[in-house]
C-alpha cells in the first residue's frame, strides 16, 4: 500500500519536450479554454475531438500514458457511484427504460448523463494533471501572475494569491506523503482501518487526521519563517529572474488550439445534446 504512488496532481515531471518548453502562459490559456469547453460539451463526438487533442499532447510530452491516468485510480469509486446515481435518478420525458427493479428504474438518458458527467470529470482532471506534470512550480507561478496581472488594478493581491495557490498545489503531494507515514505509524499500533462499522471506522480517522493537521500547520509555519528569513514580503517590488518570452512554438500551439476549439464549438452548436 503506497498512498503517494497514484498522486499526479501538483507533481512536476521534468522533461525537455515541446510541451515542457512552451511558455507557461500558453499552457495555462490552453488548459483554461479546454476547461471551459469541457463544461459546455453535452455530446460524445465533441469529447472524441478533445480526446484526440489530449492524446496528442500526452504523446508529445513523453509522459507515459499509464502515469498520466493513474491519478484517476483513487477517484474511481466516486466516479462509479456518481454514474450509478445518474443512471437511476436522472431521466427526461422521452427517455426509454433499460431495466428496473424494486423502486429503481434505469433509463437511457440517465445512462448518457452518467457517461457524460464521468467523462467530464475524467477530462477536467487529466487537463489539470498534464498542466502541472509539464510545468515547473516557478513557471506556473510566473505564468499565472503574468496572466492575472491586469486584475491588480482592482486592488487584488495577485502575486500573493498565485503564490498561495501554487504552494497549495505542491502541498497535495507533501500531505499525501505525511498521511502515508501517519497511517503506517498507527497501523503499527494495531489500528485495523478496514474493520468495524461506520462509526468505528470514522473514529479510527482521528489518530490519522489529528497528526496530519498539526504537522500541516507546523510545516506551513516553517515555510513562512523560511520565506521571511529570505526577505519575502509579498508581491510589491518583486522582480523576476527569468522573464517570460513567447516563441514561434507558442504561436503554433495557439493556432492548433484555435482549430480544435473551433471544431468543438461547431459540434456543440450543431449536434443535438445526448441528454
Amino acid at each position: 500500500m503506497e498512498l503517494t504512488k497514484n498522486i499526479t496532481l501538483g507533481v512536476y515531471l521534468p522533461g525537455e519536450t515541446v510541451i515542457h518548453r512552451l511558455d507557461p502562459r500558453t499552457k495555462i490559456i490552453i488548459a483554461s479554454v479546454l476547461i471551459i469547453l469541457l463544461l459546455m460539451i453535452k455530446s460524445y463526438p465533441a469529447y472524441a475531438v478533445i480526446l484526440t487533442f489530449l492524446s496528442a499532447v500526452i504523446f508529445m510530452s513523453g509522459i507515459p500514458l499509464s502515469y498520466a491516468l493513474c491519478g484517476l485510480k483513487p477517484m474511481l469509486p466516486v466516479l462509479i457511484l456518481m454514474w450509478v446515481f445518474q443512471l437511476f435518478l436522472y431521466s427526461n420525458p422521452d427517455s426509454k427504460v433499460i431495466f428496473s427493479f424494486w423502486i429503481f428504474t434505469a433509463t437511457d438518458s440517465g445512462m448518457h448523463m452518467g457517461n457524460l458527467i464521468s467523462l467530464r470529470v475524467i477530462f477536467l482532471f487529466t487537463v489539470t494533471t498534464i498542466l502541472t506534470l509539464t510545468t515547473s512550480m516557478v513557471s506556473l507561478t510566473d505564468g499565472l501572475e503574468s496572466l492575472l496581472n491586469p486584475l491588480r488594478k482592482f486592488g487584488l493581491p495577485i502575486q500573493e494569491l498565485v503564490m498561495t495557490m501554487v504552494i497549495a498545489l505542491r502541498f497535495v503531494l507533501i500531505l499525501a506523503e505525511e498521511l502515508d507515514k501517519i497511517v503506517k505509524a498507527q497501523m503499527a499500533r494495531g489500528v485495523a482501518f478496514d474493520r468495524g462499522n461506520f462509526i468505528q471506522k470514522t473514529k479510527k480517522l482521528f489518530p490519522v487526521f489529528l497528526p496530519l493537521f498539526i504537522n500541516a500547520f507546523k510545516r506551513a509555519e516553517e515555510l513562512i519563517v523560511a520565506m521571511e528569513a529570505r526577505s519575502y514580503t509579498g508581491g510589491k517590488g518583486r522582480t523576476k529572474m527569468k522573464t517570460l518570452q513567447m516563441s514561434r512554438v507558442d504561436l503554433g500551439a495557439g493556432f492548433v488550439m484555435l482549430i480544435f476549439s473551433a471544431i468543438v464549438v461547431l459540434l456543440i452548436i450543431t449536434i443535438k445534446p445526448q441528454i
Partner: protein, 288 residues
C-alpha cells in the same frame, strides 16, 4: 520470533517515472533475543527494510517470514503480527495524537480490545519501562513535552502493545546529549532486563558501537557488512572505505597506537579505552 528475509527487493513508486529502487536482494536473519544495530548513511534504505519486519510494507519481491509466517500470505494475521513486532517511528509527531500522555500510550492496548483495567496496567508498566513518572506525566499535555520526553512517550506507546521484538527507528536523532543518554539507557534496560529483541536503527557508529551486540550495515540498499560488533571494528579499514565514520573512541585509540601506544584493534567504548590505555601506561612504568 525469528525474522527471516530472503532476496528482498523494494522500489518506491513502482511503475511510474519516479520509480526508485531502494532495496537490492537483501538477505537477513534476526534471531530471538538479539540486540541488532541497523546502520547506514541517510537514504540507504534502513527505514524501508525495517518496515518489512512488521508488515507495514509487504514484499514486492522475495520473502519476509516472521515466526514462520510469510507476510505476503493472503491469510497472514498482520494485525496480530504487528502486536508482536513493535515499531517506533523516526519522528514521534507521526505517532502521537492524543491530548495527554496517558491517553496516547493507551491507544495500542485499546486497539487490542483489552479491558480498561488491563489497559491501565499496561500504560503504567510502559511508562515505568521508559522512565516516565506516572503521577507527573499521565495527565501531561503532549505538546508541552520536550523532544526527549516525546520520544519516550512514543516508545511507551509501542511497548504498551507488549511486543516481543522492538524496532527503534533513529529514536535519538535530534536530541541533546542528555536526552540521548537517557533514551539509550532505556533501550539497554529494555533488552537486558525485559529481554526484548531489539533492532536499533541509527546512522551514528558511535551510538551503535556502545549499544548493540551485532551490527548490520546497509549501503545503498545492499547489506555490505553483518557480524558481531567487535569483529566488525576489527576491520576498521573497510568501514572507512565505505565512508562510515568510526566511533570517536576508535579514532583516538588509532591515533594513540600510531604514536606508539600498544592498544588492541577494536576498542569500542570509553570504558575499554580507559582500561587498555591505563594498562599500557602501567606496563611502561614497570618497564622504566
Amino acid at each position: 520470533m525469528p525474522i527471516e528475509i530472503k532476496n528482498l527487493c523494494h522500489s518506491y513508486k513502482k511503475g511510474t517515472p519516479f520509480e526508485k529502487k531502494v532495496l537490492h536482494n537483501v538477505d537477513l536473519i534476526i534471531n530471538d533475543g538479539e540486540f541488532v544495530g541497523l546502520i547506514g548513511s541517510t537514504q540507504s534504505g534502513k527505514t524501508t527494510l525495517a518496515q518489512h519486519f512488521n508488515a507495514l510494507i509487504i514484499p514486492q519481491n522475495g520473502k519476509v517470514i516472521i515466526n514462520g509466517c510469510n507476510t505476503a500470505d493472503k491469510n497472514a494475521e498482520l494485525i496480530k503480527l504487528r502486536q508482536n513486532v513493535g515499531y517506533v517511528f523516526q519522528n514521534p509527531d507521526y505517532q502521537l495524537f492524543a491530548s495527554t500522555v496517558g491517553e496516547d500510550i493507551a491507544f495500542g492496548p485499546k486497539n487490542q480490545k483489552l479491558s480498561p483495567g488491563e489497559v491501565n496496567s499496561r500504560v503504567l508498566e510502559a511508562m515505568e519501562q521508559v522512565g516516565l513518572d506516572y503521577n507527573t506525566f499521565y495527565e501531561r499535555d503532549i505538546f508541552a513535552l520536550s523532544g526527549g520526553q516525546k520520544r519516550r512517550v512514543a516508545i511507551a506507546g509501542v511497548l504498551a502493545c507488549h511486543p516481543q521484538i522492538l524496532i527503534l527507528d533513529d529514536v535519538t536523532a535530534g536530541l541533546d546529549p542528555k536526552g540521548r543518554e537517557e533514551i539509550l539507557t532505556v533501550i539497554r534496560k529494555l533488552h537486558f532486563e525485559y529481554m526484548i529483541t531489539i533492532i536499533f536503527i541509527s546512522n551514528s557508529m558511535d551510538e551503535v558501537a556502545r549499544l548493540v551486540e551485532r551490527i548490520v550495515v546497509l549501503d545503498q540498499g545492499n547489506i555490505i557488512i553483518d557480524g558481531a560488533t567487535r569483529d566488525i571494528f576489527n576491520q576498521a579499514a573497510r568501514l572507512g572505505d565505505i565512508g562510515l565514520e568510526l566511533p570517536e573512541v576508535m579514532d583516538i585509540t588509532t591515533k594513540l597506537r600510531n604514536k606508539g601506544f600498544n592498544l588492541p584493534q577494536a576498542v569500542i567504548n570509553i570504558d575499554e579505552a580507559i582500561e587498555s590505555i591505563s594498562a599500557d601506561l602501567l606496563e611502561r612504568q614497570v618497564g622504566d
